[in-house]
């Protein structure tokens, strides 16, 4: 199949993009095209106006600012993968990026496109949840910032309204002593994960957990931050039994079944993925503590 006919626009400034969005109807924004183009090829989507963002260079940046990393929505996954800033300040993202599609899709795919498609198991959505991301949404009327909780409006659905565009993501950088782990289960490398889990863990001088973040994808429409599990782990030694208990608690989170994967299988995987991510994070946190 081929895309149905549309009027093509290729503005080079964000101000022109929001102008177009405010005047045109039935528009779609084209970022990397790794999801939108298949949907248009299949004619699931038939926009009258396609606004290509690939010339909007002001949306392509990675900027470290205090404890945060600001990423322009049109920053390609490849750029993130090969970025010295990401490797230095946010190594867990590098680990997650290796699971994002394939080299050929990362060469085009963008972080903004991935977030706006909002696939439940997408690695960059998981990272944004883990790193307490805030999302800047722009329109003709200016910009607003939303949290990941607000951004999430259910399966494949976000806060970004028809006349708006996601312009920037702001992630909280891990602490230098944060150990990290990212694991996922997919039938084949590069497939959408069935369940993925990421974890950041920091230990105090006594080896007890002083900070922990966990994000689990694949249970429902959006990644889950199990705050009760995180809270229970605080102050504990990252012993095998503590991590097994945490993984068990995560597997109790309500899940959904679909045509391919049952809820109970997702929960089973959530337990295993969480345990592995916690073990990875604990190991790397201990190594970082020893370096002190």
């Amino acid at each position: 199949m081929k895309p149905a006919a549309f009027k093509y626009h290729d503005p080079s400034r964000l101000s022109d993009v929001v102008d177009l969005l405010s005047t045109l109807e039935n528009t779609r924004l084209l970022a990397g095209g790794q999801t939108l183009m298949p949907m248009m090829n299949f004619r699931y989507l038939m926009p009258d106006h396609l606004i290509d963002l690939n010339k909007v260079s002001e949306l392509d940046f990675i900027q470290i600012e205090g404890g945060y990393m600001n990423i322009g929505a049109m920053t390609r996954q490849r750029t993130l993968e090969f970025s010295d800033e990401v490797a230095e300040h946010c190594p867990i993202m590098l680990q997650a990026l290796h699971y994002v599609g394939h080299r050929q899709t990362r060469n085009r795919g963008t972080i903004g496109g991935s977030l706006c498609h909002f696939d439940p198991s997408a690695e960059l959505v998981n990272m944004t949840a883990l790193l307490d991301g805030t999302l800047q949404i722009s329109s003709k009327n200016g910009s607003r910032e939303v949290s990941m909780d607000e951004f999430n409006q259910g399966f494949l659905t976000t806060q970004v309204a028809e006349q708006e565009i996601l312009s920037r993501v702001r992630l909280t950088l891990p602490h230098v002593r944060d150990g990290f782990g990212f694991v996922e289960f997919a039938r084949r490398h590069g497939d959408f994960a069935i369940v993925a889990c990421s974890c950041l863990m920091r230990l105090d001088a006594l080896g007890q957990i002083e900070s922990i973040k966990i994000a689990v994808s694949g249970l429902g429409a959006a990644p889950v931050r199990p705050s009760n599990v995180e809270k229970n782990l605080m102050g504990q030694l990252p012993s095998k039994s503590a991590l097994i208990q945490a993984a068990h608690d995560v597997s109790q989170i309500e899940s959904v079944s679909d045509a391919y994967v049952t809820a109970s299988y997702r929960q089973h995987l959530a337990r295993i993925m969480t345990y592995r991510a916690l073990c990875q994070a604990a190991k790397s946190a201990q190594e970082k503590s020893n370096d002190r």
Binding site: K2, P3, A4, K7, Y8, P38, N41, L50, T105
Partner: protein, 161 residues
């Protein structure tokens, strides 16, 4: 409604100027407008990798890119690999290792490996496996393709030194 644009695209070193429908994909442009039919159309939704070409040296799915987006860009297709009509090292390794049966996936495999071996001249088996996960082959079982890639990497290193 037909929305058309004039584009100038450099393909394998030669610049082509055409007027195209904005909805035309890059792979259809290469095949139908330029008669460069070495690039194959498989799934048309970015899964199979048969349509892989290099855009400014980076491997991309040409079924997921519009021809208008290639305006003023430099494209390399499988037709641009041979040197003076002779198979290049990678292509020769594919022949030597029987790395194709029906040949449908071959051009995509070659383009993926062209980029990969340029950036990773000394890859591990695991790295080759990972990069080839973006290209489907239903004939060979991948092993001959892997052997060709490893052999080509070595021969390319030798040719460099």
């Amino acid at each position: 409604m037909t929305d058309k644009r004039s584009i100038a695209v450099k393909v394998n070193g030669q610049t082509y100027e055409r007027e195209v429908d904005t909805r035309m994909t890059l792979v259809d442009f290469l095949r139908h407008e330029l008669d460069l039919t070495g690039t194959h159309v498989g799934c048309e939704h970015g899964v199979c990798g048969a349509c892989t070409v290099l855009v400014n040296g980076e491997s991309v799915r040409s079924c997921l890119m519009l021809a208008v987006q290639a305006n003023e860009q430099s494209i390399q297709t499988v037709e641009g690999l041979a040197v003076n009509g002779e198979l290049n090292i990678l292509q020769q390794c594919f022949q030597d290792h029987h790395s194709l049966q029906c040949g449908f996936c071959t051009s995509g495999m070659l383009m993926t490996l062209t980029e990969f071996l340029r950036d990773h001249p000394n890859p591990t088996q695991q790295e080759v496996q990972e990069v080839l996960s973006g290209n489907l082959c239903r004939c060979t079982g991948y092993l001959p393709i892997m052997s060709a890639a490893m052999d080509a990497a070595q021969k390319m290193r030798e040719a460099q030194s």
